[in-house]
């Protein structure tokens, strides 16, 4: 392929990515934006096979490459298709991680290929890519494990942890400097290993609530590694695309942190400042008030205003349709019903809106946190369906706990609070919820969908 045409197509792809990001930031154009990006990426992948080569060079490994792509598609597409909505965040984290890993591998392979022919600037770019790519890879794996609840979602902090982290970081930078000055292979390898370790240590102390922020941050960093690889490979497309993702990812991370009321700085440097956690709650068996579906039905029947607070458990139990049935019954009895939506309820921003929209819940019944909070004092019953952290008063009362500072739904101001959950286990952030022991709280144990069905039947029988 003619070199000019090849480069021009690269520019077209780069512009398609700009349009993709632009499209993705407005609801109307989001889906189209994503498709534009996918089209651009496809074009780029096809075109690169016809890249003009220098004098006397030829294409290698074409069959192997095509096979790897085929396997990648066979792995990636079904994973993306079959995953349940509740597990999407961890999948995004994983995709991000493999991207970072790919960038680190590309940089390493090119480093070996260039050998002593690499300029200092190229070695610096390689070192950057390998460090950040490896960190992003291992860090993303840890966020995946946390979100998939294959490991604890609580901040993991061990005594002296911050010194270990600082030492690892120093090791990474030291070997990085060594690589740059020597141009040898061994230091690069050691550096990569240390960077993988650093990624793990960096994400371990991050509490559950901050996980999406960290994913977004690692995503931005991976973008920068792609830009750095583009510099080494002299590809304008990679430079532009990587920088775009780096810049937009940075902004997005800041916006997410703002939306969740978290400090970005605190999240980033949590690893260095986190202290071994104070045990919250005394773990003694305290008494709670648990009720039967009939008790709940009666409470609801004589209420004038009911607010339903859906959470992650509702998504897990797929109870959105049953919740709607209950709400419709109450509304038919003339009871004022609303859904109180916390911005980080569920496992991704906007999760609850989506699930409830799927169940055809009328949009005007969905009330955002800031609007619903002032109405709790006039609310008779709050029905908390599979939510926990988003109503946990510890966010206000317990400095140092992982969700401290996050705005919550003030359900304790209402007359009665009913929790539908399966056990006394804490929520995602792993902290006790004092509200469960409160005098005005009634617990109805069991899977949210089952419990709701029973309540509906009890209401019918009244």
């Amino acid at each position: 392929m003619n070199k000019n045409i090849y480069e021009l197509l690269g520019l077209v792809v780069a512009l398609s990515f700009i349009l993709a990001l632009k499209g993705l930031s407005a609801p109307k154009t989001a889906r189209r934006g994503n498709l534009i990006g996918a089209a651009g990426a496809t074009l780029a992948t096809v075109v690169v096979f016809f890249a003009p080569l220098g004098e006397g060079k030829s294409h290698h490994n074409t069959i192997l490459i095509l096979a790897a792509i085929a396997i990648g598609v066979l792995v990636g597409v079904p994973a993306a298709r079959k995953i349940q909505m509740t597990q999407m965040p961890q999948l995004v984290a994983l995709f991000n991680g493999v991207g970072g890993g790919a960038a680190a591998l590309v940089a390493t392979a090119e480093y070996l290929n260039l050998g002593t022919g690499a300029s200092t600037a190229e070695v610096v770019a390689t070192v950057f890519t390998v460090i950040v790519g490896c960190t992003s890879f291992s860090g993303s794996v840890i966020t995946f494990l946390k979100l998939q609840e294959l490991m604890t979602t609580r901040p993991v902090v061990f005594p002296g942890g911050r010194f270990v982290i600082a030492a690892t970081l120093a090791g990474v930078l030291g070997t990085g400097g060594w690589t740059i000055s020597s141009g040898a292979n061994t230091p690069l390898l050691v550096m990569g290993g240390l960077a993988l370790l650093f990624g793990v240590l960096f994400v371990l102390p991050v509490g559950g609530a901050d996980v999406p922020i960290v994913i977004s941050l690692l995503n931005a960093f991976t973008g920068l590694t792609v830009a750095a690889s583009g510099y080494v490979l002299q590809s304008t497309l990679l430079i532009v695309a990587g920088t775009l993702v780096g810049a937009s990812g940075t902004i997005l991370t800041r916006k997410m942190a703002e939306a969740m009321g978290r400090s970005l700085f605190g999240t980033l440097f949590g690893a260095f400042t986190a202290k071994p956690q104070v045990a919250t709650g005394e773990q003694e068996a305290r008494s709670v008030k648990s009720g039967s579906p009939d008790d709940v039905a009666i409470l609801l029947n004589y209420a004038q205003r009911v607010v339903i607070v859906p959470g992650f458990g509702l998504a897990v139990a797929q109870a959105q349709h049953t919740v709607r049935e209950l709400a419709d019954m109450l509304a038919a009895k003339g009871i004022d019903v609303a859904y109180g939506i916390h911005p980080v309820a569920g496992r991704m921003p906007g999760h609850m809106n989506v699930l409830l929209a799927e169940a055809n819940v009328p949009y005007e019944q969905l009330v955002e946190m800031d609007e619903v909070n002032p109405t709790f004092p006039q609310t008779d019953v709050v029905l908390v369906v599979g939510a926990n952290d988003v109503v946990n008063p510890a966010a206000k009362t317990t400095p140092g706990c992982p969700i401290y500072g996050m705005p919550i739904l003030d359900v304790s101001e209402a007359g009665n609070v009913i929790f539908l959950k399966r056990s006394m286990r804490p929520g995602f952030a792993g902290i006790e919820n004092e509200l469960l022991y409160d005098a005005k709280t009634t617990l109805l144990f069991g899977d949210a969908k089952d419990s709701l069905t029973k309540v509906v039947n009890a209401l019918k029988a009244l």
């Binding site: 096979f49 597409v77 995004v92 591998l105 392979a109 780096g246």
Partner: protein, 105 residues
């Protein structure tokens, strides 16, 4: 390409990246992150370039592995983003219904 040109392109891309997402609404945070994530899967192009010119087994192995990972990132990323946005499509309708309802009050 001169390093000055690269620097200029880099700086301009930063501005474009900043500006283009600066108006995103909270509900779109997740899809946007996921879409951006898919875009950096374009490292696939870099992986193919490296694999294409790899001459010994070590380089080839690393590069082919990179192709595999990058493909997963890119293809999976775009598909999962599309799935998320598919679920969102119900909302604007609902919002419209809401407006209509208000208008008819």
């Amino acid at each position: 390409m001169t390093s000055m040109a690269i620097l200029t392109i880099f700086a301009l891309s930063i501005f474009v990246g900043f500006e283009v997402v600066s108006k995103v609404s909270t509900t779109l945070h997740t899809p946007l992150m996921s879409g951006a994530n898919a875009i950096h899967g374009i490292i696939l192009v870099g992986a193919i370039m490296v694999a294409d010119s790899a001459t010994n087994t070590l380089e080839t192995t690393l590069a082919i592995l990179a192709v595999l990972l990058a493909t997963i990132n890119m293809v999976g990323g775009f598909v999962v983003t599309d799935r998320m946005l598919e679920m969102f499509k119900g909302k604007p309708k609902a919002a419209k219904a809401n407006k209509d309802a208000e208008a008819s009050k």
